[in-house]
């Protein structure tokens, strides 16, 4: 069963006058659009600069928010704090992704035997998506140690646990959406090959589901990156808390700007990866 090779080769092509005219018109339009964009961007930018630097309070704002000397002094402490953010982010993101995946899979189990498991998993996502993160943090970092149990983990671990629990709830719903987006015919095909439910999940459903929801998952990780700093409410010093301390010492807000810039720099690679993954997913969906 072989297909005969194509014998017709395409004819030599020179663009027709109509096509040349169209190409020229499109080129003119492109040049015009680029010029318009450049001019309007420059105009808005100039206006903004004048509006801010020309404001009556600009001098004072610049001194209290953009003091290079204070920025230099605060940098080491803020960086030390940021290192805590990074470590927490890595651990909490891994933990929340695992927990979310587990909860999502539990929620898809069918049959009356699994009713308690399903109900528990559903109850978890409802509770922790509704509960403000700060309250979860206080409950775990102040309430749980108050029990004075033996072998109580340090406050940092409890704070991380609060983040994992809260974000796990969101990520579980994202994973579940992905699992439900896999067409039933894929399950039928897998089961018809003799794969068990577990094997079908592991080899057919989850790989497709995770690929599809990778962009929103990463988006939640970017959000988590900012929220990990909230553990400082319980004591540990993260970048924002370090900036707050430095601010209190110098009566100047510049350390906050330092922390803010560092946070953005930290987020850029993660956001870039998210965009890349989103783009790839979109290309795949359009049939590549």
């Amino acid at each position: 069963m072989t297909v005969p090779p194509r014998t017709i080769s395409p004819t030599a092509w020179t663009p027709s006058p109509a096509q040349r005219e169209r190409a020229a018109y499109r080129r003119r339009q492109t040049v015009l659009s680029v010029l318009t964009a450049a001019v309007s961007t420059a105009a808005v930018g100039t206006l903004l600069v004048f509006a801010v630097t020309g404001a009556p309070g600009w001098q004072r704002v610049r001194e209290s928010f953009l003091d290079p000397r204070i920025a230099r002094d605060a940098l080491p402490e803020v960086l030390t704090g940021l290192w805590l953010n990074v470590r927490l982010l890595v651990c909490c993101a891994a933990g929340a992704l695992l927990l979310g995946l587990l909860i999502a899979v539990l929620r898809t189990l069918r049959g009356p035997v699994f009713f308690p498991v399903r109900a528990l998993a559903a109850g978890y996502t409802y509770t922790f998506r509704g509960l403000p993160l700060i309250i979860v943090l206080y409950l775990l970092t102040l309430g749980v140690p108050g029990l004075r149990l033996q072998g109580m983990p340090p406050v940092l671990v409890l704070g991380g646990l609060a983040l994992v629990l809260t974000y796990g709830g969101y990520l579980a719903e994202v994973f579940r959406a992905g699992i439900e987006s896999v067409h039933p015919s894929q399950l039928a095909a897998a089961r018809s090959l003799g794969l068990t439910y577990r094997q079908t999940m592991r080899h057919v459903v989850l790989p497709q589901a995770v690929r599809r929801v990778a962009p929103p998952l990463l988006n939640d990780v970017v959000a988590l990156q900012k929220d990990v700093g909230l553990v400082s409410l319980a004591g540990p010093i993260d970048a924002v808390r370090a900036a707050q301390i430095a601010t209190a010492e110098s009566f100047n807000y510049t350390p906050y700007i330092v922390a803010g810039v560092l946070f953005v720099l930290l987020a850029i690679p993660l956001i870039a990866v998210t965009d890349q993954v989103t783009l790839r997913a979109a290309r795949r969906q359009s049939g590549g």
Binding site: S185, A188, A189, L193, G194, Q208
Partner: protein, 247 residues
Amino acid sequence: MALLRCQGLRKVFAGHVVLDQLDLTVAEHQVVALIGASGSGKSTLLRCVNLLEELDDGTIELDGEEISDPRVDPDRVRRRIGMVFQSYNLFPHLSVLENITLAPRRVHRRARAEAEAQARDLLDRVGLGAKADAYPDRLSGGQQQRVAIVRALANNPRLLLLDEVTSALDPELVGEVLTMIRDLKAEGMTMVLATHEMSFARDVADQVCFLDGGRVVETGPPEQVLGSPTQPRTRQFLARIIEAGRL
């Protein structure tokens, strides 16, 4: 001896009776073609045989074992039955080779090298050896369907169920799939196929069953059922098919 014996099958979807006291017997090495209008129960019958649907009544026996017994492990039954779907249902995240070796490796616990060698051999035989490492979205419909058939064959099934496997294909691609099924018949594969291709049913089937309203209305050799049907409903159906230029 009968390889597959269905007796008194009944299946109801939301008050609608899809299979109604349906009987069907398929001998080993036999090819049975199910014909009938859309909604006559062809696909549902195939899905019930593969235990993808739960029966509302009746029994199904495979090799003398009652597989419709709820105590029977459906995964163990499905290993012995291959199924090919109208929409191919290849796994889009796996290459052709991975699609084919998934069940041999995970279900039959065969070594990767062994499973891949068998898959490559099967692919070569249907002229798709060069596509082993391609992903399904790079293949034409006919190629995808042939891979789907190979995937079902890699389990060495006793019985192959084909659910309108050419219905989603461009006319020019139907031939390559039908040729493959014809070759399978020559090798002695037992098959039950739901089809709209009457000329193919006439050509390849040992027995044609005309389904209407969830029952087998008429059954027999193709030349009898398609050539000189005795039942008025069969005649009506075939007249419509001829009118549409499909016979």
